[in-house]
């Protein structure tokens, strides 16, 4: 198990954002984290990587408890994250952005080495020709790729991806899914939050569902999509569930994954 989340609870004032959530991530897989808006998914990420300390519960990463560690300590242990709301370092170049990831990631590369890694990673996510542009000048889709590039450059064991597919067109989604699979195949574990159901159901080895801060289901995509509670809380439509289950060929499915 690369990551164990044990009975994590987190509240914001009167709002119970997470309540007693537990799950485990086996190494080398892609895991989907889904749930309605405001279910606490992003909060879960924030707790895992140390942005918020939880009120109770533990987070264990590669056998070491990291609960309450500041985010930079977590990052240095090999846990990288791409944000839901992109946070590019606007006044720095795209290359510098990625270099930050490389310099301060798990390997803590030197300045020169980081520059080399940055160029490789940018090549990989398709931003190579923009390396010298200021990050602020990228469009949203490119910024999402930049988020991913920064995370990759840190050579993480575990990658937390918060809606990196949002805002991408179907072709881009397909390309990105390819990339994610290759990253997984290199041994990086991926935990992804995603509302693009088709994608999640396709790529995930395992899916966890949150609702109102509680884990309401988990299992393979098939199991989850058939769970009545998930259908009620999140999918809302049995037909859609069937589509997800049967794959894109099903006549129950929309022509492209426009999301729900």
């Amino acid at each position: 198990m690369i990551l164990q989340v044990e009975n994590v609870s987190k509240r914001f004032g009167g709002l119970q954002a997470l309540q007693d959530v537990s799950f485990e991530l086996p190494e080398g897989q892609i895991l989907g984290l889904i749930g309605p808006n405001g279910a606490g998914k992003t909060t879960m990420f924030n707790v895992i990587n140390g942005v918020y300390p939880p009120e109770s519960g533990r987070v264990i990463f590669r056998g070491e408890e990291i609960t309450g560690l500041p985010p930079y300590e977590v990052a240095r242990r090999g846990l990288a994250r791409a944000h839901q709301i992109v946070r590019p370092l606007n006044e720095l170049t795209v290359r510098q952005n990625v270099m930050v990831g490389a310099c301060y990631g798990r390997k803590g590369l030197s300045y020169a080495a980081a520059a080399r890694v940055a160029d490789q990673v940018l090549e990989r996510v398709g931003l190579a020709e923009r390396a010298d542009q200021l990050a602020g000048s990228l469009n949203v889709a490119q910024k999402k790729r930049l988020e991913l590039a920064r995370a990759l450059a840190s050579h993480p064991y575990l990658l937390l991806l918060d809606e990196v597919l949002a805002g991408l067109n179907p072709t881009e989604v397909a390309a990105m899914l390819d990339l994610l699979r290759r990253i997984r195949d290199e041994g990086v574990t991926i935990l992804m939050i995603e509302h693009v159901m088709q994608a999640v159901m396709n790529i995930s080895d395992y899916v966890i569902v949150l609702d109102y801060g509680k884990k309401i289901a988990e299992g393979t995509p098939q199991e989850v999509a058939n769970d009545p509670r998930v259908i009620e809380a999140y999918l809302g439509d049995p037909k859609l569930a069937r589509c997800l289950l049967e794959g894109e060929e099903s006549d129950a499915c929309p022509p492209s994954e426009k999301g729900v």
């Binding site: 439509d237 037909k239 589509c243 929309p254 492209s256 999301g259």
Partner: protein, 238 residues
């Protein structure tokens, strides 16, 4: 003949250098409930921000009651009768519930109807009546959404636009909100609805626009749109 209250003509808009809308046109007929359908990030909110003036269109026009209002600042559009319940609620978190509602009725046109609207809003959302003196920021998410909608209703608008009506509301409450929309429409209010629950939205609407990649992909009477095969597949999951 029905008259057009609000018309968007060939609007292009975006943020910084990123273009989001690529020539969108849309008309709101008086007293009708229109719905705007589209996936995440296609630019629905961007369109509403452009209509209210929070965002300057790069090209195109916005007409309100036949007048070109493209260059009016947002507060003048609000005073003219365009109300928006914005995405993310945007409450005055440090002010009380009552004060938020009062701010909703800030425009001159709304003051006269304040008492009447307040009664209706409290009728609709008894919870708000109980919590008048509570700071808006301390309300629960659902209550905040109620307050946001209520604040929009206080404006006594000509056109009410609601971005994500049922966001964060319990199913029961969202149902009753849809019912309210129908009621308001019956009272003659012009409404533009953006809603994730496309099923419900189409069911209560008169007319529908489908926005895709920053362009109007399809439009028509809501019933017809809902019946179209590609819509059923793309947005209704059928």
């Amino acid at each position: 003949m029905m008259s057009t209250v609000l018309e968007v003509q060939d609007v292009a808009s975006g943020y910084g250098e990123v273009q989001i809308l690529w020539g969108v046109s849309l008309r709101l007929e008086e007293g009708k409930l229109t719905t705007l359908v589209g996936s995440n990030g296609v630019g629905k909110t961007t369109l509403l921000r452009t209509v209210t003036g929070l965002l300057r269109p790069w090209k195109g026009k916005v007409l309100f009651q036949g007048k070109d209002i493209t260059r009016l600042p947002p507060h003048e559009r609000a005073n003219a009768g365009i109300a928006l319940v914005p995405e993310g609620r945007q409450l005055f978190t440090d002010m009380t519930v009552a004060e938020n509602l009062e701010m909703g009725a800030f425009s001159r046109r709304a003051i006269a109807h304040r008492r009447k609207n307040l009664e209706r809003v409290f009728d609709l959302f008894p919870r708000l009546k109980e919590r008048q003196q509570q700071k808006a920021g301390t309300l629960s998410g659902g209550e905040q959404q109620m307050l946001a909608v209520a604040r929009g209703l206080m404006a006594e608008p000509e056109v009410l636009m609601i971005d994500e009506l049922s966001l964060g509301l319990s199913p029961v409450l969202s149902l009753s909100l849809f019912e309210t929309m129908r009621q308001l429409r019956a009272e003659g209010l012009t409404i533009l609805l953006v809603e994730q629950n496309v099923h419900m939205a189409l069911a209560i609407s008169d007319y529908a626009y489908v926005l895709s990649e920053g362009r109007i992909w399809m439009e028509g009477p809501a019933r017809e749109v809902a019946a179209r095969e590609e819509i059923r597949q793309a947005y209704l999951g059928m």
